[in-house]
Structures are given as C-alpha cells and as structure tokens.
Amino acid sequence: MGNSWYGPLADPSGNAGYAADHPPRVGFFTDTSVCIGCKACEVACKEWNALPADGPHHDQPDLLDLTATSYDNTGALGASTYRHVAFIEQTRPRAAAATVDLGMPLPAGDATEVRWLMASDVCKHCTHAACLDVCPTGALIRTEHGTVLVQDDICNGCGYCIPACPYGVIDQRKGSREEGGGGAFKCTMCHDRLGAGLQPACATACPTESIQFGPLDELRDRAARRVETLHRSGVPEARLYGHDPDDGVGGDGAFFLLLDEPEVYGLPPDPVVTTRDLPSMWRHAAAAALTVAATVAAAFLGGRR
C-alpha cells in the first residue's frame, strides 16, 4: 500500500503511473486575507467552462438564487459552481483587532467591531482524493499536473464520488441527457488552459492576486512567508489550511490562508480521506461474510438427512 492511499506523497502523478518527466505539480494558494469578494473568479470560471446556471439544483425557479447569506448567492460548490465566494460577517471584541495608537482615547468596556471574511472556495485537488479512489468507472483520474479530473465521456452518474468527498465539492448535475446532465462535475483546474501554458481562469481574473497559481512547492513557501508577515503585522489569527502533507488527505493541491477556524468558512476542521480506513473495512466485511457462510453451512449440517 505504501503512501498511495494515505500519508505524505510528494508526487501523486508519478504514483498514478505517469513517466518521470511529467510536469511539476501545480495548484492554488488562495490568500483570503486580500480577497475583496468581487466574484471575478466565479464569473471567469463560469464563462471559461460554459457552466449552466445553478438554478435546478437549488430547486429555485427564480434565476436570482438569493440565499440571504450576505453577498453569497451561490451557497456552496456544486456541479455548476467551481469557485464559490463565501462571505462571513463577524462581530468581535475591539481588543482582538490590530490597533495603531493614534493617541486617541479608546472606548471603555466591551467595544466591538465588525469584520468581513471573504474567501473563494474551490476543489482542493487532494493528494489522496476520495472521489478518485471510489470512482468505479475510472472516470476520475489524476492528471500529469497532479490535479484530479472527471472525464465526462466515461462518467455514468453513479454518484459515488459525491458523498465520498470530505469537503463536499463534487456534485451531480441535474438536467437532460442532451444538456449533458446526470454526470458528476467539479473544478478541472482549467485542464484545457494548462495544456496551452495558461493559468486557470479564476487565477487570471483575480484582481488582488488572492488566487495564486503555480508549482505547489513554490506556493507553499510563499504561503509560509505570507503567514509570517501577517503575524508580524498584528494578525495573529492568520493560518494556513490544507498545506500540510501530513494531514488527513496528504495535503491539498489547492490550499488556503484563513483568518478564522475552517468551519466558519464551511470547511471541515480535520478532513480525512475515507480510503484510509478501507483496509479495515474490507477486513470486517470479510469476517462478516465468513460468518454468513459459516451460519448457512452449519444450518444445513445440523439437520442432514
């Protein structure tokens, strides 16, 4: 088994069978501390991938799918939304904020301030991708770039990848056969653009470089330095999420700098690829199957004519 299913794995593409000269692993570093919530990433992604409106999945006849959650009108990642900008409005004690002494008297007692967290969520392209592991048709593959891709012409819409993803990313698109519905869809990291030497659409469109694209090692270094800078500037709550190869999914191809706990953004605090426990599952299933066989055999042996 080695680290094919769980644990640090530096080269998932090599592990998947690509030749040693495959391109370096690429990914996203999404620095939410500079996100302005403009949703250019959402628009660029929808345009480049020709994604349909989200309407049918939310069971909402109205095209303006207002969710009443701040400026977030996509709600979550899904089969027609590969970039989802989350908005969280928080009230917190003023003392927790970074302050500059302007020589003015500070209000006494429990003064509060409001801050806005904005983050562009995306498929994590996990090192150990549960969606890929459970796909029975081989539609989900690891690409030469280290990303995870659904081959739409193979997918038969069995839906197994959907509950397998620990981040709740991949989903099944509704719609008729002519519309291409029924299959599972998720971010491709603009695989068609990568082949042409371009960056993914969202990274290209982001005006603040909140979404950064490049070789994963480089991004991880850059992210570590960015966190240090933020800590020095009085933003102690900045932390990286999905950067660690020792985490439950072997580290993500798309990782984040967050300003609060992951669950505040709708991310799981400690995701683990379900395949980690698969050997144990098969062992227990085998034991149970043997129990069935033994029970049936014993039942017949007991009363043999």
Binding site: T137, N156, C158, D260, E263, H284
Partner: protein
C-alpha cells in the same frame, strides 16, 4: 474571533454533500442484494441435501433479487445508458467497482440455476451454476456495508466496523425468512432466519453504541423510528419462526410464513433506517464538524482523543449537539423534529462520556 469551544458552521449549511442516490432504489438494493445472496447459498445447499422445494425458493429468490437489484441500480444512475461502464475497470479502492464485479457474475449464475430449475433442462449445469452463485453469496451480503462506509458520511463511516455485521445478520434473516415460505423440510432456513435475526439485533445495538457522535442520528427522528420498527419486526419474526418449528401442521406453516414476511420487512426497514441516518448526518454540519473539532483540539492539547477534561466536566465537546437545520424548500426536515429527547438543539440523551475513543482514533 469565534471562540473555539462552540460549534460554528457556515450559515448552518452542510459541509459534505449528501448522496444523490434515489430512494427507494439504493436502500431497496441493499436489502434485495443481501436477501439474494443468502438465498443463493440456501438454494445450493438445499440442492446438495435433496430438499427440492427449498432449492426452488432459494434459486428463484436469488434470481429475482439479482434482477430487481440490477434494475434498481441502473435506474439510479445519472446516465443509465452507460451502465456497462461499471465493468470498465476492477478497482479495489472502489467498493462499487468490486460490487459490480460480484453482482454481474452472481446474477448470471443465478439466472442459469433458475433457468435450469424452471425448465428442468441440464440440472447438472444448474447445480454448478447454483454453487457458483452461492460462492458469491456471502460477498453479496456484506460488500454493500463497505460501499456505505467508504464515504465521508459520518453515520456510515464511523460505523464501518459494525455495519458489515448488521448487513450480514439482516441478509441472513431475510434469506432464511424467504426459505421459510417453502414447503417440505425448511429446518435449515429456520435456523438461518433465527440466527440472522439475532445477529442483526445484536449488531445494530453494538453499532448504535459504538458509532460515537453519529449516535443521535440512529436513535432519533425518522431513522430512529425506522430502526425501532425494524427491531420490532425482526424480534416478532424470529419468535414466529421459532414457533413455526414447534407448532405442527397448517398452523405451523402459517406461523412460518408470517415470520418470513416480518423478517424480510424488518431487514428492509433496517436498511432504509441506516440509509436515512446517513442522509441526516450528511445534511447537518454538526455531525461533521464536532468530532473533527474534538480531534483537532485533542491534538493541540496533547490529550488522548475522546477523553473528557476532568477540570471541565461539562465541556461542550461531550456528546453531540446537532443544531436545528434551516428548512430547505420543499424538503422534509426530519433532523429538526422533536426527537423525544427535547429536540436536536439541546444535548441529546446519549453517551455522557462522549464519543468512543476508538471511533476518533486512527484506523
């Protein structure tokens, strides 16, 4: 900054995606596949021990189960015309792939055995095919537990050790129950049915005890009701099956047939209840966040996972506090219903000591 100790979520939205699998298609398949698997074993052994009627029931039940199963599974696909893509690869990391490669030969061999039974042609081929199907039968009964457990759904994944035994017991009860409807010597079927019922009841109880944070999902709301119904039907069915063996003549046979219906109804209710519990835990982010947050905190503090802090016995990590779900349009909000324990918003009556350490630990 949001304090760590409280449960937070993004506007109460789910974190993982619940399965898009259709009801009744998939839970019905779980039940039918198990019943078919046991029936194939019963049919083959009945054949080898000269019990004609039992053989007949076993073979027909195996084929019927396999056919309806395949129909349900193909219907459940998002792109049904591509159902053969299931056999493109054999992938051990995908229980669905492995299962397809169990179901396909099982169905074929069951078909051959049943065809021979129906036409009377080539009984030797029928016998060999029946034995082949029987060899796959036990796998048919338990691989579906791995299918459910190999997801991020908390109720299923956290029960991955117990689910195979629940499904095994349920399949034995169902298949044995079907055999009870036959005429002639059905003593083996009776033994299988009762043993299966006992295993199903015990394994379900163990599952509910050991599943950790997800326990609330199994014991409240619609899943709780379904599983209670299943328990009752299985208990009464086992009693009726036993009585059917003790009471002679027509009344005994009637009791056996009642047992067959109750045991199968109970087995089906078990599968539907477990399926439903999974959906509940997928939709409520609390089931995903709380155990994971507890793991993170334990690692941070260097505390063995799952043990309460003796300095703070009322630590909010003890037990699950699922929050009331925002009703989605047109959806049945079972998770927000009163569960008899004072509603999901409060700490449900459950394990006061919190999750079982094994469930939160590795492997």
């Amino acid at each position: 900054m949001v304090p760590d100790a409280e449960f937070t979520s993004y506007y109460g939205r789910p974190i993982i995606k619940s399965p898009t699998w259709k009801v009744p298609d998939v839970p019905l398949y779980l039940y039918l596949g198990g019943a078919a698997g046991t029936s194939a074993c019963v049919g083959a052994l009945a054949d080898l021990t000269g019990r004609g009627p039992l053989r007949r029931w076993g073979r027909f039940a195996a084929l019927t189960g396999a056919l309806v199963s395949v129909g349900a599974l193909v219907h459940d696909l998002g792109r049904p015309r591509r159902f053969l893509h299931m056999l493109r690869v054999l992938k051990p990391t995908s229980p669905l792939s492995v299962g397809s490669w169990i179901l396909a030969p099982f169905g074929t061999l069951s078909g051959l055995a049943a065809a021979s039974e129906l036409t009377g042609i080539a009984p030797a081929v029928g016998r060999a095919a029946g034995i082949g199907a029987a060899a796959l039968g036990p796998a048919m009964t338990t691989y579906t537990a791995v299918l459910l457990a190999d997801t991020a759904v908390p109720a299923w994944h956290e029960g991955h050790r117990e689910l195979p035994f629940v499904f095994a017991g349920s399949a034995l009860a169902a298949g044995g129950g079907i055999g009870l409807a036959a005429t002639g010597d059905v003593r083996p079927a009776r033994r299988i049915a009762v043993a299966g019922a006992v295993l199903e009841l015990v394994a379900t109880a163990v599952l509910e005890r050991r599943v950790g944070f997800a326990r609330t999902a199994y014991t409240s709301g619609r899943p709780g009701r379904l599983l209670t119904l299943a328990r009752a039907a299985t208990l009464v069915g086992a009693a009726a099956a036993t009585a059917g063996g003790l009471v002679p003549g027509r009344r005994g046979r009637l009791l056996s047939r009642i047992a067959a219906g109750l045991l199968n109804g109970g087995a089906a209710a078990t599968r539907f209840g477990i399926f439903e519990a999974g959906i509940v835990t997928a939709r409520d982010p609390a089931y995903t966040v709380q155990p994971q947050r507890a793991r993170v905190e334990a690692r941070r503090d260097g505390v063995p996972v799952g043990m309460s802090d003796p300095m703070h016995p009322n630590d909010p990590h003890d037990g699950l506090q699922p929050h009331a779900l925002e009703p989605e349009r047109g959806e049945d909000v079972e998770a927000a219903e009163d569960d008899g324990n004072g509603g999901p918003a409060r700490n449900p009556g459950g394990d006061a000591t919190g999750a079982d350490p094994r469930q939160l630990d590795k492997g």
